[in-house]
């Protein structure tokens, strides 16, 4: 585990990236983007990112450049915001595709982050899948009952409630049951907890922190 970068440093890297993006200095932004791309290709080997990049980032960049050039005749405006968008997007891909939610939790424990917040984060990811399943089941059930989706706007709006409320109540029941379990497990206890795994900072984490701090210093000063 310690061979990887500490998750909290990755969050620091995201903040540094936001600083670089908002600095408005194109040469630094391009350098930062190239660094992120190299990390994605070289270290993480996350080729899925490029699939996401083509389906999500490229259309927005194309839209920014084309619309600003043809409609508003401002060529540099589009390019400037396109580069800023790349700098803001690539680090998020890099960090969140290279770190599992569990790894984030290990990292938060190192700085004694409230365990209830950790529970919220993990539980949200879990319940999202449950809700999605409930949603698809409800859609099928309501279609069988005759609530057709392809109708006029008013009818579609009226169909919203027979789909939304069953999904809502279904997961609400699940939440109530879970709250009873949590109460029994003593999650509201205010005493500190002990953990089997805590991700501590290593020497290369400290070095990475220093490099990032110097980098943002250079971006601000020059």
């Amino acid at each position: 585990m310690n061979k990887k970068i500490h998750p909290l440093l990755k969050i620091y890297f995201l903040l540094i990236s936001c600083g670089v993006a908002l600095s408005g200095k194109i040469e630094f932004q391009i350098a930062h983007s190239i660094f992120c791309l190299c990390c994605i290709i070289g270290i993480e080997k996350k080729w899925d990112v490029f699939k996401k990049l083509f389906t999500f980032v490229l259309p927005i960049i194309a839209l920014l450049i084309i619309v600003n050039f043809f409609l508003l005749h401002e060529w540099m405006f589009g390019v400037r915001y396109a580069i800023r968008f790349i700098v803001l997007t690539l680090p998020f891909f890099l960090v969140f595709y290279s770190t599992s939610p569990q790894e984030f939790m290990y990292g938060f424990r190192a700085v004694k982050f409230p365990h209830q917040f950790n529970y919220l984060f993990l539980s949200s990811l879990e319940i999202l899948e449950l809700l999605r399943d409930a949603f698809h089941t409800t859609i099928l059930a309501q279609q069988l009952r005759g609530y057709l989706i392809e109708k006029s706007f008013l009818k579609r709006w009226r169909n919203f409630f027979p789909i939304f409320f069953p999904v809502f109540l279904n997961i609400l029941n699940h939440s109530i049951e879970k709250s009873i379990i949590l109460e029994f497990k003593g999650i509201t206890s205010t005493t500190s907890k002990t953990y089997l795994t805590i991700w501590k900072f290593s020497l290369h984490d400290v070095l990475f922190f220093m490099v990032l701090t110097v980098w943002i210093g250079v971006v601000i000063l020059y």
């Binding site: 915001y81 919220l120 999202l128 939440s175």
Partner: protein
């Protein structure tokens, strides 16, 4: 060592529920082809039932997860979610979710506040383009000669009040129809809405 961050178990399970509702709402709206976002229903519901702080947590985590899972631009709109949570918590404290006209009025007000907070973020960080359907409205206002901030703000004013008003109405109907056995489990809701 004492840990000062405490939430009741029911709030702890309802916050992930609110986050999931916020995220799944986009899918329902897209399926029914309704031209609105309705992506803050969960946050408003949590603020109304568990209080402002739970709502703020729900809003922050919703945008964080939406940024990770769907659209990374969402992360920069966390301040908007915070404003929504704080305002809806304030509305709940004033017992306004028990009256339909008040819900509508506060929903419209919420839309205006959201537009005010979202406009500078969308304008200065993304140049007005966030890959949503409303980007074309921004471009329309820009083509009419307005600057980016004005265009984004006018776009927000044209869509956010309707969107937030409908979100408030949905939460109002949910609260009216939830069984009282469930509502009694929520200390914040019992204190501010039931005991009038």
């Amino acid at each position: 060592m004492k840990n000062n961050f405490t939430l009741s178990p029911i709030s702890l399970t309802l916050i992930p529920f609110g986050i999931a509702v916020n995220l799944i709402m986009g899918e329902i709206v897209a399926l029914l082809k309704i031209p609105l976002y309705l992506d803050s229903v969960g946050t408003i519901f949590i603020s109304a039932t568990c209080g402002m702080y739970a709502g703020v947590l729900c809003g922050i985590l919703s945008n964080l997860l939406a940024g990770i899972l769907f659209n990374s631009t969402m992360i920069f709109f966390i301040p908007v979610s915070i404003v929504i949570a704080i305002f809806s918590g304030f509305v709940a404290e004033k017992k306004s979710f028990s009256s339909f006209p008040k819900t509508v009025i506060f929903g419209l007000l919420q839309g205006v506040f959201s537009a005010i907070v979202a406009a500078p973020i969308a304008a200065f960080v993304f140049g007005g383009i966030t890959l949503g359907g409303t980007d074309f409205v921004v471009l329309y206002f820009r083509a009419m000669g307005n600057n980016i901030l004005e265009s984004v703000f006018y776009q927000g004013l044209s869509s956010d009040p309707i969107d937030k008003c409908l979100s408030y109405i949905i939460v109002f109907f949910i609260l009216q129809r939830l069984p009282s056995s469930f509502l009694q489990r929520l200390p914040f809701f019992v204190k501010h809405t039931i005991n009038e």
